[in-house]
């Protein structure tokens, strides 16, 4: 799956590309609006990560052109300006999602995989990891065809972990993903631990193998 990163901060691009490549994504990079315009019209991408503030232009212009040319690439806007106006304008212009800097890379991966799923597998709303199947439309989870009854938070947690499978995901990233701005109130260890514990219990009761590894001091890793 091909991803284009349009971003002028080289160090940030480096980390993003490195992280995404681990998940078998193919990353191409454009540091300027000029480069981006060339690439966007030459190739098809599954997802474009678009920074609004580029040294030689506004990223929203690129988005406008894309949509004018009926391109169907998924677009996630990335911006340092966490302003409601930009968000509304970007989404109105046809962006699929919006992410404000600074962000967790696991969060980026979760968003990217959600966008790609929506774009690529029309009709197929299921993701599968070994014996676990998640129906994103019905928001239900099955293990060995047996239904697993999860709370909203546990479901979100599972989808997040599967999107970031084989990678260490920190407790902070999980807390931010589950609670947004309210995460600052959390005593992360207790809160996350409770949800992880319940999720593990429910999955193993349904006969699934325990794929959630604890990485001491850091977080968790969902791996087969």
């Amino acid at each position: 799956m091909k991803i284009l990163i349009i971003e002028d901060e080289k160090e940030l691009v480096k980390s993003m590309a490195q992280y995404l490549r681990q998940e078998s994504y193919v990353c191409e990079i454009a540091y300027t609006a000029h480069e981006a315009n060339e690439k966007v019209f030459l190739f098809e991408y599954d997802c474009i990560l678009l920074d609004i503030n580029l040294p030689d232009g506004n990223g929203l212009k690129i988005l406008e052109k894309l949509k004018d040319n009926n391109k169907t690439d998924g677009v996630i806007i990335i911006t340092a300006k966490n302003s409601l106006d930009d968000k509304v304008r970007g989404l109105n212009l046809g962006a699929d999602d919006y992410l404000a800097k600074p962000f967790f890379l696991p969060e980026l991966v979760a968003r990217v995989s959600a966008v790609i799923r929506r774009k690529r597998f029309d009709g197929n709303t299921k993701i599968t990891f070994q014996e676990i199947t998640v129906d994103l439309l019905g928001k239900t989870v099955h293990a060995h065809d047996q239904a697993v009854d999860l709370t909203r938070k546990e479901y979100d947690l599972l989808v997040f972990l599967i999107a970031n499978k084989n990678r260490v995901v920190s407790k902070n990233a999980i807390a931010e993903h589950l609670s947004g701005d309210d995460a600052e109130l959390l005593d992360k260890f207790d809160f996350i631990y409770t949800h992880i514990k319940n999720l593990k219990k429910k999955l193993s009761e349904a006969g699934a193998i325990d794929y959630i590894q604890t990485v001491y001091g850091l977080g968790y890793k969902f791996t087969a």
Binding site: Y19, A80, P102, S170, L185, V215
Partner: protein, 424 residues
């Protein structure tokens, strides 16, 4: 005391002293002038009288005639005398006035004269104005003068202070109403009075300079916060990449987790600073009809999990209420107050949320504060809780100031009670 009152006071005091001094001075001088006049006419009378006597040659028995004259006349008396030296002397005497039946002052000229070779003492007197009458008359005149003077000065003063000082008071009231953060220039009016125009220009320049500095500072905070987002994003992304390294020891994993928590705190701080400066820069001006009940219930739903984890009991009494306001600001306000309550309630405590009559109130159990007056200040925080950015309540205050909401904090019955009254 007003400026004009000070000058009026001096003026009044000076004229009062002048008027009081003028009473004896005028009394004395009038008296002197009168005496002189009277003396002159007495001398004239006496000369005329002697002149007449000289012409009365046909009188045989002069002595008898003069005696009769002495008895009949009221103000001319002539008596034989032994003294032979000729002299004139003036004096003021008090005599009984048989016509007016009272003691009156008289001016009297006594002179030794020779009539037909015999010496006589000639006394001519003339009634004077009564001293008391004179003092009374002068006193009345001066009192009228004082009244007119004071009244006139007060009147002039009042109309002056109304007219002359109007531009000054206008400037003062505009200065009092001026708020630097309201993003308005200080307007000055032309007055035609050099001093006031100078003052207005000086104030205008001063406020304009301050306003510019203030605007620059506001802009700076917003720009700085924006610029910090990218390095923070880089920092965070590097940590996420580093975390994937398989060769991490337990202690380095822990260090990474700590770094990440710190990065998050920085980014939260930055977000809140940005929010503060955005509120300052009036970027939340669109207003709509906000459902206070629904908004509050939404926020409560979001933090419910967290409250449950901390075993906080939440007691809610949310009545219907609507207000015309910016939805984002109302959400931020309610969220920050609830976050504050959750953060500062220890495990097992309780939080009471109430919405009633357009008033939002949240109370949480806890120990009293050492410095409750400063609770809404920036970076004022309870040292035990380092996770807090110290900006939540400052943002609440900023929103209340911007929207003119009444915000209140008190500690009663072991509860910290925060309330905000919305309008309209």
């Amino acid at each position: 005391m007003r400026l004009l009152q000070v000058s009026l006071r001096s003026l009044l005091l000076y004229s009062l002293v002048l008027v009081i001094i003028s009473i004896p001075v005028s009394l004395y001088s009038i008296r002197e002038i009168l005496n002189e006049e009277v003396d002159e006419s007495l001398t004239l009378n006496s000369q005329q009288f002697l002149e007449h006597l000289k012409n009365f040659e046909y009188l045989d028995d002069l002595e008898t005639d003069l005696h009769v004259l002495d008895q009949l006349s009221y103000n001319i008396h002539i008596k034989p005398t032994a003294a032979t030296i000729q002299k004139n002397s003036f004096e003021t005497v008090i005599q009984y006035d048989s016509i007016e039946h009272e003691e009156r002052p008289f001016r009297q000229l006594s002179s030794n004269v020779i009539v037909k070779g015999k010496p006589y003492l000639l006394t001519i007197s003339m009634s004077l104005v009564d001293n008391d009458d004179l003092i009374t008359a002068i006193g009345i005149v001066q009192i009228i003068l004082i009244v007119l003077l004071t009244g006139g000065l007060l009147f002039i003063n009042r109309s002056l202070s109304k007219k002359l000082w109007t531009p000054f008071y206008k400037t003062i009231s505009r200065l009092k109403a001026y708020e630097l953060d309201k993003n308005e220039a200080f307007e000055v009016e032309k007055t035609n009075i050099i001093e006031f125009d100078d003052l207005n220009t000086a104030i205008g320049n001063l406020t304009e300079r301050n306003r510019k500095v203030f605007l620059h500072q506001k802009e700076f905070i917003e720009n700085a916060s924006h610029e910090l987002q990218t390095p923070l994003a880089i920092f965070q992304s590097k940590l996420d990449v580093l975390m994937q390294s398989s060769a991490l020891s337990e202690s380095s994993a822990e260090t990474i987790a700590e770094l990440e928590a710190t990065a998050q705190r920085m980014s939260r701080l930055n977000k809140n600073l940005l929010l503060l400066s955005k509120i300052d820069n009036e970027q939340f001006i669109e207003k709509e009809d906000v459902d206070l009940q629904a908004t509050t219930l939404d926020v409560i739903a979001k933090i419910r999990d967290i409250a449950d984890t901390n075993q906080l009991s939440m007691i809610n009494s949310i009545e219907a209420g609507r207000t015309l306001a910016n939805k984002t600001l109302i959400e931020v306000l309610i969220t920050n107050l609830l976050h504050n309550a959750v953060r500062h309630t220890s495990v097992g405590g309780s939080i009471h949320v109430m919405v009633k009559d357009k008033t939002f109130e949240v109370a949480n159990s806890g120990k009293p504060l050492s410095d409750p007056e400063r609770i809404f200040e920036r970076f004022r925080k309870d040292s035990a809780n380092s996770e807090s950015t110290g900006l939540g309540l400052a943002i609440v205050k900023k929103i209340c100031d911007l929207c003119s909401y009444e915000q209140h904090y008190e500690y009663k019955a072991d509860l910290h009670v925060f309330s905000v009254k919305f309008w309209p």
